[in-house]
Structures are given as structure tokens and as C-alpha cells.
């Protein structure tokens, strides 16, 4: 019986991820121990240690990256409003009165831009021959990153490359940075790795992702267990469903639903008959009570499950295509004008912020030097005690 601690190595991309799962879960455990936010949840989980949650419900994807559609919209609008306010202030500080005629992006336009660059990821993956897992992971990272950051601070063009590079590492398909940057026009290695830590931080270091395409693979395997199945039909359905899974990456589906639900929705789009047959088989499995034919008026578990899929299907069909390039081009043109001036290299505000940072750093250095000199003069080179003054001024390690 395989346990959670097993380690399996392989050279094949899509299959040998048990080792990664093990190492990543180890990393996440360590991370939990270090991260106060995660640690604060630990006691509540520990208190219910007798009833341990299933694997998916214990994952970071379920605990940190599962939202309702309303929450998603709310997060994006508040984030956008906060960013607009900050940038407007930055403009005003630079030269007063200039912010009036700038048209800032709204949350939907930001999302549109992110979606375009998410659709670009697969092109790069095709070029580098990365497996599907890298592509899916990179897209997930990109979407999660823009739930905590705004397009006006960090252009998705760069962030997309960084998430892709990060995804190659977290999914154990490493590639040399120079090689990676050399194959992308007008990109230097520093463009890719400069914001890597910021990205990792925004992701909350939750690198493990439960992917839809793997759930679909499992679905394909499990469908073969159904009686009188036509393999050719199944193969055709699988190919169509896989296309839908790829389309679903451009939607918010993975932030709302479980990967198994999305996979089943994709299968249902490809072949409703197969999907409902599988759902029926799952719901009448020995684990649950089979619905008796007499009470056909009330929805049986499998129809309830299929009803749950309707919004996912709808989402994939309506939002699952890359946005119109012309519309995005217009947004991008406006983005050039309303970018956060503090983040554009060479601008006045950027220089000012830079100077401010350097001044702070220099001040800190001199303060520290003075402290050490004083301590040496007092004949106590290791400082008096583990006092507050040593810890108090470490808060300005800016991440930008």
C-alpha cells in the first residue's frame, strides 16, 4: 500500500511526480511551520486530528486559493481601486495636476490583459517542449499572482515569463536560465528572475497545484472500468475534453471548483453520455446508498453532481477563448500611460523612490555601525542583550 512518504523517480515528465509531491509536501510542511499565517491555522486542524481531512481538502489549493465568484470580483475591484489610488498619488507627487487626464484600467481590463498572457504561455511551452504540467502550473501561478498584485505595477509580460520559469522548477523540469532567456526575444535573464521572489511570495509559497488535466487523465482511466465501453468513442471524447481543459485554464474555474469537477465538466461537454454514466457509477458505488427508482422526483446524487457542472460548462464555453488581440492592444496602450511611475526604470518617481530607499539603507548602515562601535567601546562586542533595537529596524526590506 503506498503511503504518503513514498518517493518515486522517473525521467518521464508527466508521470514521475510522486517524488515532487513528496518533496513539495515536505516543503509545505516546513513552510507551514515558518509562516505564521499558515501556522495559525495549524491548531484548528490539529484539534480535529481525529477526523483528518481528505487529501484535497488539506491542500493549500483548497485552503488558500478557493473562492466564490463574488469573492473573486470583490478582491479584484478592491485591489484595482487601491492600486489606482496609490498610482494617482505617485503621479501627483511627481508633478501635481497630471493625474486628472490619465484613464486608469479597471478590474475587467486588468483581467483581460492577464488572460491574454495566460494564453501566451502555451506558445512558449510548445517552443520549449515543456510538458503540460509546466504550462498548467505557470498559468495557475499567473492567475494567483494577479489576485494579490495589479497589472499596473507588474506587467504580465514579465510576470508570465517568471511564473513559467518558476513552474519549470517547481514541477521538476528545470532549464538553464540563460537558455530560457536566449530563446525569448528582447529578454535578459534579469527580466525573468528579478521578480521571482516577489512572485513566490505573492503565491504564499504554495507551489503545489492540483491540476485539471491530471484529473481528466484519471477520468479517462476510470471510464475504462465501466462495462461495455467503446474505446474509440472514449478516445475521441478524451481528446475533445482535453481541449476543453486547456480552454478552462483561461477561466476562473480552478479558483472556484475542484479539479475533478472541472475535468468531469469537460468530459460532459465532450460526451454527455459518458460523463453521466460515470457519475451514476460513482454515486451508486458501495460507499454511498444507491438512489432507489421510486423517489425519482427528488434529484439523485448523480444528477445533483451533473447539475453542479452546468456553471462550469457555461464558464468554459463563454470565457474559454483567448481575448481579441485588438481589444487588448487598446488596453495595453492605455496601460503604458497609467503604469505605476515608481516601477518604471528611469522615471522621476522611480529615481526618487530609489534615492529614498538608498537613503534609508545608508541610514540603517550608519546606525548599525555606530551601534557596533559603541558596543566595542563599551567593551561588550556582542551587544548588551537581545534587545529591541536590534530587531526593530528590520522592517524595511522592501520587496519592490
Amino acid at each position: 500500500m503506498p503511503g504518503p512518504g513514498r518517493i518515486v523517480y522517473t525521467q518521464d515528465g508527466d508521470l514521475g511526480d510522486n517524488k515532487r509531491l513528496a518533496t513539495l509536501s515536505l516543503f509545505l510542511i516546513v513552510h507551514q511551520a515558518l509562516n505564521p499565517m499558515a501556522a495559525e491555522q495549524t491548531p484548528s486542524v490539529a484539534s480535529t486530528a481525529s477526523a483528518r481531512s481528505p487529501l484535497y481538502e488539506a491542500s493549500t489549493q483548497y485552503r488558500h486559493w478557493r473562492f466564490s465568484p463574488e469573492q473573486l470580483a470583490h478582491t479584484r475591484t478592491t485591489l484595482n481601486e487601491a492600486a489606482v489610488k496609490v498610482i494617482r498619488d505617485a503621479f501627483e507627487a511627481d508633478s501635481p495636476g497630471t493625474s486628472a487626464d490619465v484613464s486608469f484600467l479597471d478590474a475587467d481590463e486588468e483581467l483581460l490583459l492577464v488572460k491574454l498572457y495566460a494564453s501566451k504561455v502555451s506558445q512558449f511551452c510548445g517552443h520549449f517542449r515543456f510538458p503540460e504540467e509546466v504550462e498548467a502550473t505557470a498559468v495557475t501561478y499567473l492567475k494567483r499572482f494577479y489576485l494579490k498584485n495589479t497589472v499596473m505595477d507588474w506587467h504580465p509580460k514579465n510576470v508570465m515569463l517568471t511564473t513559467l520559469f518558476l513552474a519549470t522548477k517547481t514541477t521538476n523540469h528545470p532549464i538553464a536560465l540563460e537558455h530560457f532567456a536566449a530563446h525569448i526575444p528582447r529578454t535578459s535573464p534579469s527580466d525573468v528572475v528579478d521578480i521571482e521572489f516577489l512572485v513566490a511570495q505573492s503565491l504564499g509559497f504554495d507551489f503545489a497545484v492540483w491540476h485539471t488535466h491530471r484529473a481528466l487523465w484519471g477520468l479517462w482511466l476510470d471510464l475504462q472500468a465501466l462495462p461495455d465501453i467503446d474505446l474509440n468513442e472514449l478516445r475521441k471524447a478524451y481528446d475533445i475534453a482535453l481541449a476543453h481543459v486547456r480552454a478552462s485554464r483561461l477561466t476562473d474555474a480552478e479558483l472556484i471548483y475542484a479539479p475533478s469537477q472541472i475535468a468531469l465538466a469537460c468530459m460532459s461537454l465532450a460526451s454527455p453520455g459518458l460523463a453521466s454514466a460515470w457519475a451514476r457509477a460513482k454515486c451508486s458505488s458501495p460507499g454511498s446508498t444507491p438512489g432507489s427508482p421510486s423517489d425519482s422526483s427528488s434529484p439523485t446524487p448523480d444528477t445533483a453532481m451533473l447539475q453542479l457542472l452546468e456553471p462550469i460548462k457555461n464558464m468554459i464555453l463563454t470565457q474559454g477563448s483567448p481575448p481579441e488581440v485588438e481589444a487588448v492592444r487598446e488596453v495595453d496602450r492605455r496601460l503604458k500611460l497609467c503604469k505605476n511611475p515608481e516601477k518604471i526604470v528611469g522615471s522621476n518617481a522611480y529615481n526618487k523612490k530609489r534615492e529614498e530607499q538608498e537613503r534609508k539603507a545608508a541610514e540603517k548602515r550608519t546606525r548599525k555601525a555606530a551601534q557596533i562601535r559603541k558596543a566595542m567601546a563599551d567593551g561588550d562586542p556582542f551587544g548588551s542583550e537581545l534587545g529591541d533595537q536590534m530587531l526593530v529596524d528590520d522592517d524595511d526590506d522592501d520587496d519592490d
Binding site: 514521475g16 510542511i29 486542524v45 469573492q71 478592491t78 491530471r214 458501495p286
Partner: protein, 376 residues
């Protein structure tokens, strides 16, 4: 005689340098016990006597007379921790309070104490700590938690340090005074408790001593009785041997068995004594936060076992290359395709029946909390 004296350490040798003047002048510290003289104080050892420090190199800093000139030289310590010989003290302070010849602090004759430690700093520290301990006598159970107790200990240590090193003396004294006022009740209470405990210990010791004596007495009586009995038995045996014509060996064996029985009865009755252990029982009130043990793996690997059954073989183009690879070039050790399949199946059924979140209130995610992180 000298060396054996200081090795034993308790020899009373009042002004005893007389005989040592003809031995070598070594700098070995000599410990002397003095009966309480005019000069009280000093540090008492457990037996209640004061061991006075004494050295061959002693010299009075005031009159510069030393042990060579005056074998009876005795140095005493002032309240400002300066040494002086008895004759200087008599000379300077007999007529009333006068300034210290070294630091000018006003001193009285009665405030001089014998020196106990070679290092006067230690002398001072011991005195300060003894003084502080009188007032700062709170105990661990007077505090709600460990942290408060630790803070208290640190404060006491601070005050002791200040007093010993002469830092901020007025403020420190004010602190002590304020503490005394604030905690008068607790100090009084603890003092009483200490006394009670000391009393209890004393009583207990006394009781134990009495019991020991009693037992020794009993033992002695028993032995006496036994001796009498044995003698009686022997006499009887001799009488019987004299009078009866039974087998000698049998008679001796019987009397021996009787004696053994008696001894056994005595020992079993005398050994049944319970020694009540005494423990300093104190009610502790602790509101410590329980330390929740860290459980590294909190998810259930087997939660989805009933949702699927892994088959022996599948038609699977995705993994075909790996499965066809007989030599294992693509696989590292331990890899089995079944595990990859099982993982995929687990993904396919995990969370199938989860309802999506609704509305805003259900969960405030970390994304909301630091939404404006990068815009700062």
C-alpha cells in the same frame, strides 16, 4: 596545628595568629570563627557561627600596621566596605560618628562587621542580596503564569545589580520602597509562610529525632529480652538434658526450632513501621497555555480509497512510452506506473461533491488580507 586548624575550618582560634608568627608567612587564607563580639553581622554558616576571613598579608589601610607588627591585628569592614583595624576603629569612632578616612562617609562604631569573604565585593553582594530577599520574597505560585514570574525575577535582579554596583541608588531605593508599599500584604504573608515552614521543618525534625530515639530504646529492650530468653532456653535445655533420658540430638533440634520461631515473630512485628514522607505541598495555580503538539501530516491519504478501484491494466497512450521501456531507461528506481495511475484516479474523484463557495462572507482568504501588498 595551624594547617590542620584551617582544614577543619571550624576551630575557634580567637586572635590566634600568635603561634603562626613563627611559621612561614604564607598568603593562605585562614578561616576563623569568632564568638559574637561587639561587632555583629557578617555571614553565618549553617551552624550559626561566623567564619571570619583572615590572612597573613593583612594590613590596615589606615594606620598601615600589619600582622608582622601586630599579630593580633583584626580587620573589620565598614558600611561603605572599607577595611580598618580594631585599634583604628576605637581611635576614630569612640567619640561618636565620624567620617570614613577613605571615602568620607559618616560611620558609626557599631556598623562595622567582621569580614567573611576575601573579596569585599562578594561581601557586599551577599549583604545586598540578603537585604533584598527579605522584601522580595514572592514565590512562583504568587504569579499567574511563568512569564510574570520571570519578569519579577528580572526586576529583582535589576535592583540587586543596581545596589551592588551603585547605579541610580536613589531611584532604586525608591523602587524598593514603592514595591514594599504595594506588596506589603504579600510580603507579610510570605514571611509568615516562611516562618511557618521553618517551624514545621523544625517540628518535623524534632519528631523524627524522638522517634529514632524511641526506636533505639525499643531495639535495646528487645535485645535484652532476647538475651534473657536465650539464657532461659539454654538453662531449660541443660535441665532437660540432665533430667530426661531422651535423645540428645532431638532435644537440641527442638529447642533450636523454637528459638528460630521466636526470632521470626519478633522481626516481622518490629519491621512494620511506616515512615511518613513529608513533601512541601503547595497549591499551584497555573494558567499556562497548553502546547499543542505539532502534527506534520494532517491529511488523510486513504480518504478516497472507496471511490475507485485500481485495475491491473489500462489502455493508456499517455504512459505507453514508459510502460514499453523494459530496461527502465526512463524510470528511476521505485517508479511504478500503478502509482501514477492511482494518483490520477485520486485526482479524478477528489472533491467531486464539494459545493462551490457562495457569497462574500464565507471565507476571508489571505488574498484579501494583503491585497494591497504590492501597491504599497
Amino acid at each position: 596545628m595551624t594547617s590542620r586548624g584551617w582544614l577543619r575550618g571550624t576551630t575557634v582560634r580567637k586572635g590566634g595568629a600568635s603561634s603562626s608568627s613563627n611559621t612561614t608567612r604564607n598568603s593562605t587564607p585562614q578561616i576563623q570563627s569568632t564568638s559574637t563580639t561587639v561587632f555583629g553581622g557578617g555571614v553565618k554558616d549553617p551552624s550559626g557561627r561566623t567564619s571570619e576571613y583572615f590572612s597573613m598579608d593583612d594590613q590596615c589601610p589606615v594606620c598601615k600596621s600589619d600582622r608582622y607588627l601586630n599579630p593580633k591585628l583584626r580587620l573589620l569592614v565598614s558600611a561603605c566596605y572599607h577595611k580598618m583595624c580594631e585599634s583604628c576603629i576605637d581611635r576614630l569612632f569612640t567619640l561618636g560618628p565620624a567620617p570614613c578616612p577613605i571615602c568620607n562617609k559618616t560611620l558609626r562604631k557599631l556598623a562595622f562587621t567582621p569580614q567573611t569573604f576575601e573579596d569585599l565585593d562578594v561581601e557586599k553582594e551577599v549583604a545586598v542580596r540578603r537585604r533584598i530577599a527579605k522584601d522580595f520574597n514572592k514565590r512562583q505560585e504568587d504569579f499567574a503564569d511563568n512569564r510574570a514570574y520571570n519578569d519579577y525575577l528580572e526586576e529583582v535582579e535589576d535592583i540587586a545589580f543596581n545596589l551592588i554596583n551603585g547605579i541610580d541608588i536613589p531611584q532604586t531605593e525608591a523602587r524598593i520602597a514603592q514595591y514594599k508599599i504595594e506588596n506589603a500584604a504579600i510580603i507579610e504573608d510570605n514571611l509568615r509562610k516562611e516562618e511557618q515552614y521553618a517551624q514545621y521543618l523544625k517540628e518535623h525534625e524534632e519528631a523524627e529525632r524522638l522517634e529514632r530515639e524511641q526506636r533505639a530504646e525499643e531495639l535495646r529492650k528487645l535485645e535484652e529480652a532476647e538475651r534473657l530468653e536465650r539464657e532461659q532456653g539454654r538453662q531449660e535445655l541443660i535441665d532437660k538434658l540432665e533430667t530426661s533420658d531422651k535423645d540428645v540430638k532431638k532435644l537440641i533440634a527442638r529447642s533450636r526450632a523454637e528459638a528460630a520461631k521466636r526470632v521470626a515473630a519478633r522481626t516481622s512485628s518490629s519491621l512494620q513501621r511506616n515512615t511518613p514522607g513529608f513533601l512541601r505541598s503547595r497549591p499551584t495555580r497555573s494558567t499556562a497555555i497548553p502546547d499543542v503538539p505539532h502534527v506534520p501530516i494532517q491529511d488523510d491519504w486513504y480518504a478516497y480509497e472507496d471511490k475507485f478501484t485500481l485495475r491491473k491494466d489500462y489502455d493508456d497512450p499517455v504512459s505507453e512510452a514508459v510502460r514499453r521501456d523494459r530496461e527502465g531507461i526512463m524510470r528511476a528506481g521505485g517508479y511504478t506506473i500503478e502509482e501514477a495511475w492511482e494518483r490520477a484516479l485520486r485526482f479524478a474523484v477528489a472533491g467531486l461533491d464539494l459545493q462551490p463557495l457562495q457569497g462574500l462572507q464565507s471565507q476571508i482568504s489571505p488574498a484579501d488580507q494583503d491585497a494591497a501588498m504590492a501597491s504599497a
